[in-house]
């Protein structure tokens, strides 16, 4: 079925449309767990005294860490605009991060994503695949400042 698939109008309409905002909480626990998982040894990511000695008012977020979405079992967060996707399997194709301002423990970020492009492409190993390019803008709720932008590439097949 998908061999003959072209971009549907539904897919075309999803391009450039923004999804609903999703709140991300940046916590001391989240920063420490992220830093531990990635193997950071700089104590400013774990210890508030060390963070202050390095000039930070709170634990700073390591590069790329923008918190965790606020979990609600009755409303799973979905950042991206939805469309009817006939492919059921997904791969993460890539990530780009543009840090703009330092993020700290205690920040709450509003993340808004939009699909910047959708393309159908042949693949030797996966058959036909749908490549979804997205951009997400993270805005700190307390002052309305954009603190980071990320771009992602998702592959459905």
């Amino acid at each position: 079925m998908t061999d003959e698939l072209e971009l549907t109008q539904d897919m075309k309409d999803a391009i450039d449309r923004e999804g609903d905002p999703v709140l991300y909480e940046v916590t001391t626990l989240g920063i420490r767990t992220f830093a531990r998982a990635v193997g950071y040894t700089n104590t400013k990511y774990y210890d508030e005294d060390a963070a202050q000695a390095a000039g930070h008012a709170a634990l700073p977020s390591p590069p790329g860490y923008l918190g965790m979405p606020v979990w609600n079992p009755n409303k799973e967060p979905s950042r991206q605009p939805t469309f009817n996707n006939p492919f059921t399997r997904n791969l993460n194709g890539g990530t780009q991060v543009q840090p703009i301002q330092q993020v700290y423990a205690g920040d709450v970020l509003s993340a808004v994503s939009r699909i910047t492009n959708l393309t159908l492409s042949p693949s030797k190993s996966l058959g036909k695949m749908l490549i979804r390019e997205t951009e997400t803008v993270y805005t700190r709720q307390s002052d309305g400042v954009v603190v980071a932008k990320t771009q992602g590439q998702g592959i459905s097949y």
Partner: protein, 141 residues
């Protein structure tokens, strides 16, 4: 750990690396940190049932390891302007992965001392590159 660098002492072509073990405990901690609980990353039977040779390293973890290497090069006074990677292949767990960054361009712009770098992640065999990308950082001079 890579030591913080001074722009004046860095040369084009210079290579920075860090090598990290990717055991199952590491992947479980990453699952908690990222919220990615897909079982191919920690459940052996589930991974093999999906035709994988072993549990596999999360792509995003590899991307953030690149971020850590850049952060260490920057030290406390430098900053990352941007970084990005493509996930071109899967890395089975229970091996060491080496994160690398090579300086491709050293320049000044708008008063900042910048480095462009090619980055990536290589498997234990030393040659299989699964996560190529690029980055730009600003470091003190």
């Amino acid at each position: 750990m890579v030591s913080a660098q001074n722009w004046n002492e860095v040369t084009e072509g210079q290579v920075f690396t860090l090598t990290e073990p990717m055991d199952s405990q590491r992947l479980v901690i990453w699952a908690a940190a990222s919220g990615d609980f897909y079982q191919i990353h920690y459940d052996d039977d589930f991974a093999k049932g999906n035709n994988l040779p072993d549990i596999i390293v999360h792509g995003a973890l590899k991307g953030m390891l690149v971020g850590r290497l850049l952060d260490e090069i920057c030290g406390d006074t430098g900053k990352i302007t941007n970084f990005g990677v493509s996930y071109r292949g899967m890395d089975p767990a229970r091996q060491d992965l080496t994160v690398h960054a090579t300086v491709t361009k050293k320049y000044e712009e708008n008063g900042e001392h910048l480095l462009d770098l090619e980055v990536g992640v290589k498997q234990e065999d030393g040659s299989t590159e699964t996560t190529p990308g690029t980055a730009t950082i600003s470091i003190p001079a």
